[in-house]
Subunit: 395 residues, 2 copies
């Protein structure tokens, strides 16, 4: 089921005095040459052991990737720390919040950092942990028009080498607007991203991989949540104080970054959707194809391009690609991985997709008028949010 | 499936300036009166929200519990941090290692702590995060005879009030000997504990709840591991450098402390065994009743006492208790929660229990000679380890 490593010639453990230096892994593409390196090198021994054990074929490649983390809260901060400790090449952090004492029931931030911006506090901590990582931090809200343009620019040009695109965007935000902004940007740029979320009652969460054109985007279907009718997107909007636990957020960050490692380093099975129900220790999985009637014009465009790409593939590969994502079992094209049955959906209004046990929708989308397919943009997402919120309240 | 909270009267979010003080939660039973409190109070707002949302009926009770964490490495340090941030009453930490730079690919420790003892470094960090927690740290190896006696004494007397027993022992160690020592102590004292582990290839792990007499102890059956024939217990013994990832260790710590919260605060379903296969995102669960022929005399004694307790219960409760743990489906009394099938067991020798998909044994125990039922003690566990290791090598 998984690599068992080569036990015949066990490698001796590399200790602090026996570290793989930077030189052995190659020159950091984003770091200027000639810079003095009078500092502690990050120790790679336990990570490079993944190669010796046959899990990852080329672990060093981690240093060539640039990943953006949007939202540096309970999930995002731990996500950034895990990536830093895994030796990622570059991290771009986006958040506009300040550290508060009310955040101390989650991992990462410390009381003495209260009042600092989250990105500034995070950069300071993370740089100390692994000085090999390049950091770029932005203390702003990505949903305003101006910042959104800058955010798009950094996705396109903020890679390890300036001017090249980044490799992955991770959404660790706590509200619907920010998720829609990331979705809009990634659809326009054809940027693969992963979404994460924790319910406001703190006992469920999920991660989701979104490859524009290939898997459902955030606007293709109602956002999926795990086994709870309430949803975290009302947080901060209505002044509701959400519950949170370091456990749930740590698990969600862990499965998110695990999925990132598998995706970037090409090992194991990358999950399209993985839920976590902490009350029952239940972890539903599923995948979803994109909605051809998606409100987002760029999503529909990416779907067309993806279809052309699949057609252009050599025959065998194309069949595998088709197998992977085309499922006509139900209206929403959802591929079921576990049992179909969801009691909680019974009372919902509007068309409801068939979903694996334990996954439900945050709300349902009403039937559209035939000839109006509004494009979701950052400017009008505020309005559509109000509509959706009103509908959710009536559920 | 889980509480949805009361949405009709949302509580306003408590910010840093609006913190639930110590006084409101009650006097800390383990803290001397009259002590000045000129320090930042830990903010409980996001934790107390669990009550308002109907998840936990009495969250404040967390402050009355004392938990021991044995092993403050990749899993134990994060476990201790999560419990600290959840507001546990008292933490007892046991470890004899020093922080090394080779630990920096896991969460918690920072490079500037290299060279410090793990318990000392952890106490310093955790006390800063939540000064309300009482800490007691022991920088020693629990498997030596003298330290083992002291360890037993602290389980019996190290509770929140000195002289009372602690509430839970968590095993976050990385070797077989230390697990057997904890098992021996907990069987003798009737102490409930939870075991955790991560495979040496870094891509699987598990947690296990052990209630002496009620569920299988660590000596009742071969240790269970998730979907890998290799096992982490050779780590440090043979100089094999195990791989490790902050992701897997973060997930295991998260599901461990989540189980602790559910157990102590009485909500959700407490898992007896929960595995994590990171390659497939597969989380098998199961439970196991104790082995009446367990090598540990105290385990057999606890089983007798548990039977008496069940008989003494009012009829309805007794039936539920019986239902919960007695399963005669197979030789090992393992209750199957998921599908039965495990290819990897085919090549094993000795009696092999039927196990859910994805869980396998680290090794099998050979048939015992009829009239010798050796008692596992700390003194002789070293010997039996060698036997077992030799057998494993021949597998």
């Amino acid at each position: 089921m998984q690599g068992t490593g080569n036990r015949s010639s066990p490698a001796r453990c590399l200790t602090a005095g026996n570290i793989l230096g930077l030189g052995k892994i190659g020159t950091h593409p984003g770091r200027k040459e000639g810079k003095p390196k009078a500092r502690i090198c990050f120790c790679w021994s336990r990570l490079m052991a993944l190669k010796r054990m046959g899990i990852v074929s080329d672990y060093e490649k981690i240093r060539t990737f640039a990943v953006a983390v949007v939202g540096v809260g309970g999930v995002g901060s731990v996500t950034a720390e895990m990536l830093t400790r895994c030796g990622i090449g570059k991290l771009l952090l986006f958040d506009y919040d300040k550290v508060e004492l009310a955040n101390m029931n989650r991992l990462f931030f410390q009381p003495h950092q209260a009042g600092l911006s989250k990105v500034q506090a995070a950069e300071h901590t993370l740089r100390n942990i692994n000085p090999d990582v390049l950091f770029e931090v932005h203390n702003y809200n990505i949903t305003t028009v101006e910042n959104f343009q800058h955010f798009m620019d950094r996705i396109s040009n903020g890679g390890l080498e300036e001017g090249k695109p980044i490799d992955l965007v991770l959404s660790c935000v706590d509200n619907f607007e920010a998720r829609m902004a990331i979705n809009t940007a990634c659809n326009e740029l054809g940027q693969t991203w992963m979404e994460s979320g924790v319910s406001e009652n703190a006992v469920s969460g999920h991660i989701q991989l979104i490859i524009p054109g290939e898997s459902a985007c955030f606007a293709c279907a109602p956002p999926l949540v795990v086994a709870a009718n309430i949803d975290e997107k009302t947080l901060k909007r209505e002044g509701v104080c959400a519950a949170s636990l370091p456990t749930t957020m740590g698990v969600v960050a862990g499965i998110l970054v695990q999925n990132v490692l598998k995706f970037l380093l090409n090992f194991g099975t990358v999950s399209f959707y993985l839920g976590y129900n902490a009350m029952q220790d239940f972890f539903p999985t599923m995948s979803m194809k994109p909605n051809p009637q998606c409100d987002d014009r760029n999503c529909r465009k990416q779907q067309e391009e993806y279809k052309k790409k699949v057609v252009a593939l050599p025959k065998q590969e194309a069949v595998q690609e088709e197998d992977k994502i085309i499922h006509e079992d139900n209206e929403w094209g959802i591929e079921l991985v576990s049992e179909v049955s969801e009691e909680e959906l019974k009372n919902s209004s509007g068309p409801v997709p068939e979903l694996p046990e334990g996954i439900t929708v945050a709300y349902t989308i009403p039937k559209k008028q035939e000839d109006s397919v509004p494009q979701v943009t950052v400017e009008d997402s505020g309005e559509s949010l109000e509509d959706l919120m009103a509908k959710m309240k009536n559920m």
